[in-house]
């Protein structure tokens, strides 16, 4: 009796998950398999591919541009995740209170998300332009700088800061919203009970808010970390990977292999390596963040 019910539940579960399985299978796994297949070949644009395993993979280590890009991407990921998470979480905490006008503030923070990332990058390029953008005149007028600064390519640090500024502007609101959804799901009563028990605001934050927010924090961190490791548009458009290749990311190297050198096999190989790394990394991350948190299946 019990096993029939369990089987029925299993079938039902599979039925509900089928549309997802179909789309993921057809539109993701099939192309992915193709990419893996391509990584084993010398793949010309037109004409027949020839197997060249393991050349595409062994040449990766010799690609100095790639090696430097890995270091840069890792550094960038750590910095931007810390900054972006702090900003998004801070904003979420600020806008969760039901004060008059908070809806307007929420909209203001989220609005940059209404612009596509490629367009946002171009927008920032104009905004930060040393001679044609408004930033330098405004900062001079305020007395913060005394001569024009080249924000986007004056130095590696400036280029990095500009990219981080763009990303925070564009994505803080987006992540704020996700965190807000999670924050709003925590019932008032829990806080009220804690206040009655004498817990202060900070204690409530650490003992109630953060633990209950874990699944949401997990999602946000996965999105941020993975997104940063795969960062492309902001460097491609805003800094061009410069100055002097100081902001060249891993995906930029992949795109260069594919669409500048037209070496599709090599691009595919690097992509496979990146994917494998990210999968391992995210499996670890998911286990750490979700540990002891899954509601028991009854």
């Amino acid at each position: 009796m019990r096993s029939t019910r369990r089987d029925r539940r299993q079938l039902l579960g599979m039925a509900y998950a089928t549309p997802l399985a179909v789309i993921v299978g057809v539109f993701f796994l099939v192309p992915l398999a193709l990419v893996m297949w391509m990584s084993l070949h010398d793949w010309p644009l037109l004409g027949e591919p020839t197997i060249n395993l393991p050349a595409n993979y062994t040449r990766i280590a010799d690609n100095s541009l790639f090696v430097d890009a890995v270091w840069f991407t890792l550094t960038y990921t750590i910095i931007v995740t810390v900054v972006l998470f702090t900003a998004a979480f801070g904003l979420a905490l600020l806008v969760q209170r039901h004060r008059p006008g908070v809806g307007l503030f929420r909209t203001a923070f989220f609005l940059p998300g209404a612009v596509g990332f490629a367009t946002a990058s171009l927008l920032f390029y104009g905004l930060l332009s040393r001679d044609l953008g408004p930033l330098n005149p405004i900062l001079s007028a305020l007395g913060i700088i005394n001569k024009p600064v080249s924000w986007v390519s004056g130095s590696p640090n400036l280029a990095l800061a500009s990219s981080i500024g763009l990303v925070v502007w564009r994505f803080a609101g987006f992540n704020m919203l996700i965190l807000l959804t999670g924050l709003q799901a925590i019932p008032e009563d829990v806080y009220e009970a804690a206040t009655v028990d004498g817990a202060g605001r900070w204690q409530q934050f650490i003992r109630i808010t953060v633990p209950l927010l874990r699944p949401t924090i997990a999602l946000v961190l996965i999105l941020m970390l993975t997104g940063s490791l795969l960062a492309f548009d902001q460097f491609y458009i805003l800094t061009n990977g410069g100055p002097d290749n100081s902001t060249t990311s891993v995906v930029m190297v992949i795109v260069r292999e594919a669409f500048t050198r037209f070496d599709l096999g090599s691009a595919a190989a690097v992509s496979v390596v990146v994917l494998a790394t990210l999968i391992m990394f995210n499996v670890l991350q998911l286990q750490v963040l979700r540990r002891g948190d899954r509601p028991e299946d009854r």
Binding site: W37, L45, G126, G154, N240, G241, P243, R256, L264
Partner: protein
């Protein structure tokens, strides 16, 4: 592994008729940067022929990506334009159809811009014809010249003279700059600096495009002049980090005295209210040259409408198209035998530009893009090292080694 079998879902070519103008639909891709000229030709062709060309402009920065994807999916359009310096890359990858016989049958085949034909030739076979032309020339701002006490009708005839003119203009003060360059843009540097090297009798690489010759006296002479301009603040300091998007806009703002610019931007500059003088790019002590850029057009190797596509190609090079469409619109034409036509004679600057095509070059290299245009390539690093780095000789020597390695990479 074979994928995307050709012919699946596509209409077969119309039965071969004697007349290639039989109402076929021809697909053509062009770069957004040259859309205007392509569209003029396409519209004129469609109005006077049964065939119809469907033109799709593609964002310039993503053009290579689109071509690569379409090639990978074996569904290139019938015709596609290509930046002329990338043509060797495309022809060596067999993306274009061999049209040697068709080109050689044209009565005016010897008057087609030689630089473009050369770049469209691979291993003795011809694959592409000139489509649009863009040359690098020196623009000077006549009003600023007058203000600085220079003769507004006389542009610089040597690079050293350019430096002197720029210095006088810089002295006007305010936010006026003597000259400008795009200090963080490899492709711009190629376009504006190499002609000075050619004018001085030198070159940046060998004829086959497999070895760099950047550590030669002519290159050094040109670089040191520009290096000095930056060191003295005569070249706009902000342009040191210019990646390209706002490079032309700097001159257009009216705040720059004299600088190398693309010839096709002349109309835009005048539209902004500037009075512009045009002169070919000189070498350090004289001579003249230009970078003959622009686009070539070819039939894709997988096209099923080659005859109809050729009909458009051939027509685009005819007098009707070159003179009555392009020249009338004040665009440069690809045929040297039509250089002096009723429209070009109207503006002496156009005549100047057309005449210098004969002294201009389009450098040939299979790996041009990844070496010279790509921001991650070795040329940009060499350029920046030479202009802004501590040691000019070392920058050129080291850079040349890396450039050679990239040019000869398989």
């Amino acid at each position: 592994m074979v994928w995307g079998g050709s012919g699946c879902g596509k209409s077969k070519e119309a039965k071969p008729s004697g007349n290639p103008d039989d109402g076929t639909k021809i697909t053509m891709w062009t770069r957004a940067a040259t859309e205007t000229q392509s569209k003029l030709l396409v519209d004129a062709y469609n109005a006077s022929h049964k065939n119809k060309v469907e033109l799709t402009p593609i964002p310039t920065d993503n053009y290579a990506q689109k071509i690569a994807t379409a090639a990978g999916g074996k569904s290139l359009p019938d015709l596609f334009a290509a930046d002329v310096i990338f043509a060797p890359n495309y022809t060596s990858k067999h993306l274009f159809l061999d049209i040697t016989a068709r080109i050689d049958a044209l009565p005016f085949k010897d008057s087609l811009a030689p630089a473009h034909i050369k770049l469209g030739t691979y291993q003795g076979k011809k694959y592409a014809v000139p489509h649009t032309l863009d040359l690098s020339v020196i623009f000077w701002n006549k009003d600023l010249y007058t203000k600085a006490g220079l003769d507004p009708e006389k542009g610089p005839t040597t690079l050293k003279e350019l430096a002197e003119h720029a210095k006088k203009i810089q002295a006007l003060g305010g936010d006026i700059a003597g000259t400008t360059e795009a200090g963080n843009c490899g492709g711009c540097g190629v376009f504006t600096l190499w002609p000075s090297v050619w004018a001085a009798g030198g070159d940046v690489m060998n004829a086959e495009g497999t070895q760099g010759t950047l550590d030669t006296p002519q290159v050094k002479a040109v670089m040191s002049i520009w290096r000095q301009l930056y060191a003295d603040g005569i070249a706009e300091p902000g342009s040191k980090d210019e990646q390209g998007p706002t490079w032309v806009g700097r001159f257009q703002s009216g705040k720059v005295g004299v600088a190398p610019m693309p010839s096709t931007t002349l109309a835009m500059m005048e539209g902004a209210g500037l009075k512009v003088g045009v002169i070919p790019i000189p070498g350090p002590d004289g001579g003249q040259s230009t970078f003959v850029g622009g686009d070539v057009l070819g039939i894709s190797a997988t096209s099923e409408h080659a005859d109809a596509a050729w009909d458009f190609l051939a027509w685009s090079l005819s007098e009707a198209a070159q003179v009555e469409v392009l020249a009338k619109h004040k665009d440069l034409i690809a045929r040297t035998d039509l250089a002096e036509n009723k429209y070009s004679a109207a503006d002496p600057r156009v005549v100047t530009t057309l005449k210098v095509i004969a002294q201009g070059r389009t450098p040939f290299a299979l790996n041009f893009n990844q070496t010279f245009n790509d921001p991650q390539g070795p040329w940009l690093a060499t350029l920046r090292g030479a202009l802004f780095g501590p040691d000019l000789d070392k920058a050129l020597a080291d850079g040349n080694a890396k450039v050679t390695a990239s040019l000869s990479q398989k």
